[in-house]
Amino acid sequence: MTLSMNTPDFLIERNRERCINCQVCVRQCANEAHGWDAEEEKIFSQDALCVNCHRCVTMCPTHSLSIRKFPLEFRENANWTASTMKAIYKQAETGGILLTGMGTDRPYPVYWDQLLLNASQVTNPSIDPLREPMELKTFLGRKPEQLRVINGKLAEALPPQLELDLPIMFSAMSFGSISLNVAKSLAQAAETLGTFYNTGEGGLHEDLYKYGKNTIVQVASGRFGVHSEYLNAGAAIEIKIGQGAKPGIGGHLPGEKVGVEVSRTRMIPEQSDAISPAPHHDIYSIEDLTQLIFSLKEATNYEKPVIVKIAAVHNVSAIASGIARAGADIIAIDGFRGGTGAAPLRTRDSVGIPIELALAAVDSRLREEGIRNQVSLVVGGSIRNSTDIIKAIALGADAVYVASSALLALGCHMCQKCYTGKCNWGIATQRPELVKRLNPEIGAERATNLLKAWEHEVKEILGGMGINAIESLCGNRLMLRGIGLSDRELNILGVLAAGE
């Protein structure tokens, strides 16, 4: 073996005065960055193995640990940055594709942060959410062209709708990429909150069937775990065409994460890599999508709305319009900052477009064609807080999908190593000793707390705008102003500049 040119990314610092040699860190670090030297009777650390997940730091009873960026610096070079060079050393060593986890960490513009919200002053009053009802109920599903009322009664019921108590859902994360305890936490939270979680492409574990009415079951190109009982178990079906973090390629589940349970749920052999094909092999064109949508509707007796999820790519508005016409009830768009359990680094960091621009373009396009009211629009791909949600809805979304934020609520520290299966927080792992670190009851409570907190904030800000029902915000771009954006960007977003 030749010499490795890779140097550590992080430096583990231990305050020896505080350390009591309890070895908690040794037991906590699945990356084995900490070890116990029995001869010397002392803990040692290997910086190169650390991924900076803060597990040991959080668990250390005497707070003796801290992790820093490894201080080694290359000669300054704006073009050949440290990460660019290290990637080359790594690929020269392995000859492989670079893998990563979670959403892109590159400094692309975050348009949410360049949009400002409005509030009422004098000419109309703001509304106090503590004293007046503030309504966030949202319906997702196809709307007919006309409601028919005969003799004071609704003549035909609406097509099946998802009824959300708040316009936030947990987006797709497969059992396999995440642990069963994460799925349990989110399912329970969705039930408590009156919203939905999404199975992702990994099938539905038998323990989760009881959350059916709060479940969206996904059908992806690998068709893992898809059977008729599964399709009928949820409240809606989502066809996954693409994912924001890796548009154009299918899901990746490394064999290390495929244990007995995952193998049974996905209906694949244990320890085998579960690599979904890049396209659905029965969808090579838009008319094929119509067929899949209607086969799924047939299989479920037309009782469930069908969502089609796509990644935000350059031509997203034309694609979305095609999907609406193909018969989808709900269109979900995932922006390129969205997370993933495993993706090729180069794809994650360079393919796709930001969700803000994609959403604005799609909403405008569907309105130009007069079909926006017929389909619902859900967006995801890095919704980080309550104002991101308000801005998304004002741009034109009916509801948002969150995943990374939900995982952060459960303890994720964004180390981006989900693909290794060694998540120290018990999230992106299948190792029993790690999985049990996340208690699903506590997980459910934390996820519920997060969305409740956001719900409060959304209500507060809506009230400030003088609005007391979320549908009055939907597509209301007059509530937004852009700051530090070019005319072209303002145009695409369909918002005025601050001060206009």
């Binding site: 009422s120 000419t123 109309n124 009053p125 509304i127 007046e132 009802p133 309504e135 109920k137 319906f139 599903g141 709307k143 007919p144 006309q146 409601l147 009322v149 003799n151 004071g152 009664k153 609704l154 019921a157 609406l158 709708q161 309105r367 007069g370 926006r372 009211n373 004002a394 705008m465 003088g466 609005i467 007391n468 029902a469 549908e471 009055s472 915000l473 939907c474 597509g475 209301n476 771009r477 007059l478 509530m479």
Partner: protein, 376 residues
């Protein structure tokens, strides 16, 4: 300075309405007196009236009221009207020199019916008229259609409402129902077309308030071909009613329940049929919910409907005496013309006051509104 339509101007207002439900006509003096009492709620930058039943001799003709800023627009408009319509009568709208009225535009009226050969397939006369109104407003230079309904007309301009009324000699007209509007815009380009009421066919709306959902309402309506050239709430409300009642053919009370939707907590308490209906209405037309303060009086050849936002963030009082129903932003404006009403009340938020003409139908043309009986 940009003029109304190029910029959105929030404003506060006074409104007032009087109807004789048996269809007896009475002169414009009462409505003038009523709105004049609320002088302080306007600031002289806009006032106007809608009057129903004033043109009985031409009740089968669409009465087009037009304002022109110059000769060119008039030529364009008249050649359009002469080409596509049969014009029974036309002439200048009589006015009287009034001291405080400055720079009025030329005001003309035409009694017209579309020539049937120009209707598109499956298009009725109403739809053709709507299309023509949008065309004239957008294409004819300096021309603006003030109203276009049958046996009704709108009179409006820049000034206090009582001065506008005097200028147009409203005391000489006799109608069975009248509405009035005095405006307090936060700034104004002083354009006569920008004053209220806003009208379309025989709909007219006077409105007090500023709706926070305007952006959502507007983008929804634009999807169905409405051009919101004035950028006002009133225009959005008018089109919303037109869309729901005329295009979607919903009963009037269902349309009202869309604009001032009941709260979910109240819907949950309704019987299952009503709950299913209102759930569907909110899921389907949620974008037309009018959020934020408003009180409106909706006039049509069917009668008057008054409505408050669902939180009742704007004042509105109603009163009756005999066949008369009075509506106004302030009770004093009612007592000014009807000192001893039989009944006076403040309608609750979201709860409409509906005064339907007993002899309706003669004026209405494809616009006989139904009610689903939602039991308000």
């Amino acid at each position: 300075m940009l003029r109304e339509g190029d910029v959105r101007i929030p404003s506060g207002c006074a409104i007032s309405g009087i109807i004789n439900r048996s269809g007896q006509v009475f002169s414009g003096e009462d409505i003038l007196q009523s709105i004049a009492l609320m002088h302080d709620r306007s600031n002289g930058l806009g006032g106007g009236f809608a009057a129903y039943g004033i043109y009985p001799e031409y009740e089968d003709y669409y009465a087009f009221h037009l304002y022109y800023e110059g000769a060119e627009g008039r030529e364009q408009t008249e050649s359009y009207l002469n080409y596509f319509f049969h014009v029974a009568e036309s002439g200048e709208i009589p006015t009287k020199k009034t001291r405080s009225i400055k720079n009025p535009p030329l005001a003309w009226r035409y009694f017209v019916r579309p020539k049937p050969s120009y209707l598109l397939e499956e298009e009725n006369e109403d739809e053709f008229v709507v299309r023509s109104v949008m065309y004239i407003n957008a294409e004819c230079k300096g021309a603006f259609v003030v109203s276009s309904g049958k046996n009704m007309g709108a009179f409006k301009g820049v000034g206090y409402p009582e001065d506008i009324g005097e200028y147009f000699c409203l005391d000489k007209y006799h109608g069975y129902s009248w509405t009035a509007h005095g405006r307090f815009p936060t700034n104004t380009p002083g354009w006569w077309g920008g004053a209220h009421p806003f009208t379309l066919l025989d709909w007219s709306i006077v409105h007090n308030g500023e709706i926070s959902s305007y952006g959502a309402n507007r983008r929804f309506l634009e999807m169905y071909g409405y051009k919101l050239s004035m950028q006002t709430d009133t225009e959005a409300i008018t089109y919303a009613f037109d869309y729901l009642v005329r295009k979607q053919q919903l009963p009037m009370d269902v349309a009202i329940a869309t604009l001032a939707a009941p709260f979910w907590r109240d819907i949950e308490r309704m019987n299952s049929e009503k709950r299913a209906l209102l759930k569907a209405v909110r899921a389907m037309y949620g974008n037309l919910l009018m959020n934020g303060p408003f009180s409106i009086i909706l006039g049509s050849s069917q009668g008057l409907i008054a409505l408050n936002d669902r939180l009742k963030l704007r004042s509105m009082v109603a009163a009756t005496k005999g066949e008369f129903l009075y509506l106004a932003s302030e009770e004093s404006a009612i007592r000014e013309v009807c000192p001893q009403p039989e009944k006076v009340w403040a309608p609750r938020g979201g709860e409409p006051v509906i005064a339907t003409l007993e002899k309706r139908g003669v004026q209405g043309y494809d616009t006989e509104y139904e009610y689903a009986g939602l039991s308000y």
